[in-house]
Amino acid sequence: MNMEIKKPNEQENTLEIKNLVIHYISDEEVVKAVNGVNIIIKAGKTLGLVGETGAGKTTTALSILNLVPEPQGKILSGEVLLEGRSVLAMSDLELEAIRGDKVAMIFQDPMTSLNPVHTVGDQIAESIEIHRKVSRQEALKQAKEMLELVGIPSERSNEYPFQFSGGMKQRVVIAIALTCNPTLLIADEPTTALDVTIQAQVLKLINELRQKYHMSMLMITHDLGIVAEVCDEVSIAYAGRIIEHGTLEDIFDHMRHPYTKGLFDALPDIGARRSELKPVKGLMPDPTNLPPGCPFHPRCDYVMEVCSQSVPENKWLSETHCVECHLYKDSNESMLKEVLL
């Protein structure tokens, strides 16, 4: 894809996903979950991947660890490079070595991602034992330190998940993810299941730890507020494509894609009451039956003839900001002005 305009130093990127296409194929239908995603996460940076249900966020994340569920899930094309090495070409043994070690994942629901019949200390120690090849005793000792790190008294390491509240369980999950000091942390809606005051605590913790360990992070979320709080760059996903990408400033202050604009307009603003919200009209497209051309065109207020005929190319508006939309061809100056107003 049109990545050549910005040619970053390969060494700087923790993660590079190039033109990734993943479909779930069953006898009856083909679910086109990911349709040409490009993502770059620079070392030590956090990328927010934003989108609604069915945008392909989680499938993209799973591909980073080559965990796309088989046999339905098929990676049809594309590359996933972790520190320059292709993940999709790795053997099972190599994958095992990076999962939980170089790349760790925090899932949405802390209630179901912990094992109910093992103590939290054991669950943290397990990962240390496997990846660090230390004795069980040493692993348990380190597990206690990890608990302290995420703000849980180490005496509680012998307790079971049911004895912990939701926020504390998510802290345990974070502790497990961080045990091996990963280079890349994938957080898939890490605070969606938590109350706001607890969410605030957990986000603060993630931010502190990320800076302390210089981790790169992929933050998957539907909440633009969380993006504003923890991310450096943002990719907006729609129907399995990244339709806009930029720095926080590019996206929050100079959003260009009509869908990005729609997402911001649909949010109730806590500071200013409006009599009516401005929803994005229509529904997310059915991934088994995507519209031709730009997947957003049936819902777009600025739709043109060309939108239903061809998929817009990725256009770089600046060093950091790119958008996939027919409005941003040079010939459409007049339409462009209207959107920008």
């Binding site: 706001v196 005051t197 603060k204 507020g225 929803p279 529904l283």
Partner: protein, 321 residues
């Protein structure tokens, strides 16, 4: 005299659990005027859902009174209560589990009409279903579809049509948009506002999402561990929150802005247990402003400015600061 539709007085709902009594709702009182919306906000376990259910007597309140349109509904017997419920409906949070998967849209919407025997004639009843579907923006061609064929937004529209079938005066909306994507959430909120305007409905809007409640409600009540800690008109509450918990709750919301970000007040710890609470301020363990009296006496609601109520021992001092 204002036109009060619903008056809730000292409503309590306790549950017996092995360790003692769980105070889910502990002495909540408020009035709600006809055509207005009261938002009830709070985090999990604060009793907001239980209040809604207790008002409809879907759980039997332990004590207190609920006066609806001049009638104390806690004194009604079963048939009378059944009749009364025509006026009081509920919209649920999860449009995936609140619809019967084996019923078509038509069957779901007409069920309450059949149960109440409101329109015995099947043709007229079908006309009524079509009218309801039109009101909530469901296309006619969907009459015979099943819930699994529809997305979350459309399912929630069915839930709303079903609630409207009885021509109610009052609807309790329990997290009606929490399960929906933002672009769809805005559609449903706008629909609910439109219906309210057109039919003169009164709403209680239960949610944990403060931005939504600010957008939607005339008054907001903040709950913490079964108690109402603050109640005020929306603008007042958001501009000038009085209770330390409300302040922390407001500052905890991640704001989708990158400039002028508000400073965050982080709370210590987590919500405490609602089982056998001591008669002291329930927020004392997490409060940044606690003084000795807070762990001795339970504060009552004080009116600090017209229709702005706060339950905090230090409210006078904190407001100035």
């Amino acid at each position: 005299m204002s036109d009060v539709l619903l008056e809730v007085k000292d409503l309590k709902k306790y549950y017996k659990v092995p360790k003692g009594m769980l105070h889910a709702v502990d002495g909540v009182s408020f009035d709600l005027e006809r055509g207005k919306t009261l938002g009830i906000v709070g985090e999990s376990g604060c009793g907001k859902t239980t209040i809604g259910r207790a008002i409809l007597r879907l759980v039997e309140p332990t004590s207190g009174s609920v006066i609806f349109d001049g009638v104390d509904i806690l004194k009604l017997n079963k048939p009378e209560m059944r009749y009364m419920r025509r006026n009081m409906q509920l919209i649920f949070q999860d449009p995936f589990s609140s619809l019967n998967p084996r019923k078509t849209i038509t069957q779901t919407i007409e069920e309450p009409i059949i149960l109440a025997n409101m329109i015995p004639d099947p043709d007229k009843r079908f006309m009524r279903v079509m009218e309801l579907m039109d009101t909530v923006g469901l296309a006619e061609r969907l009459v015979n579809t099943y819930p699994h064929e529809l997305d979350g937004g459309r399912r929630q529209r069915i839930g709303i049509a079903r609630a409207l079938a009885m021509n109610p005066k009052f609807i309790i909306c329990d997290e009606p948009v929490s399960a929906l994507d933002v672009s769809i959430q805005a559609q449903i909120l706008n629909l609910m506002k439109k219906i309210q305007r057109e039919m003169g409905l009164t709403y209680i809007f239960i949610t944990h999402n403060l931005a939504v409640v600010n957008h939607f409600s005339d008054d907001v009540a903040v709950m913490y561990l079964g108690r109402m800690v603050e109640k005020a008109p929306s603008e007042t509450l958001f501009a000038n929150p009085g209770h330390p918990y409300t302040q922390a709750l407001l500052s905890a919301i991640p704001v989708p802005r990158i400039h002028n970000r508000p400073e965050r007040l982080l709370l210590r710890g987590e919500i405490t247990s609602p089982i056998n609470p001591e008669p002291v301020c329930r927020f004392v363990n997490r409060c940044n402003y606690a003084i000795p009296i807070c762990s001795k006496e339970e504060p009552g609601l004080i009116e600090i400015e017209p229709s702005h109520f706060v339950a905090c021992h230090r409210v006078g001092e904190l407001q100035k600061g």
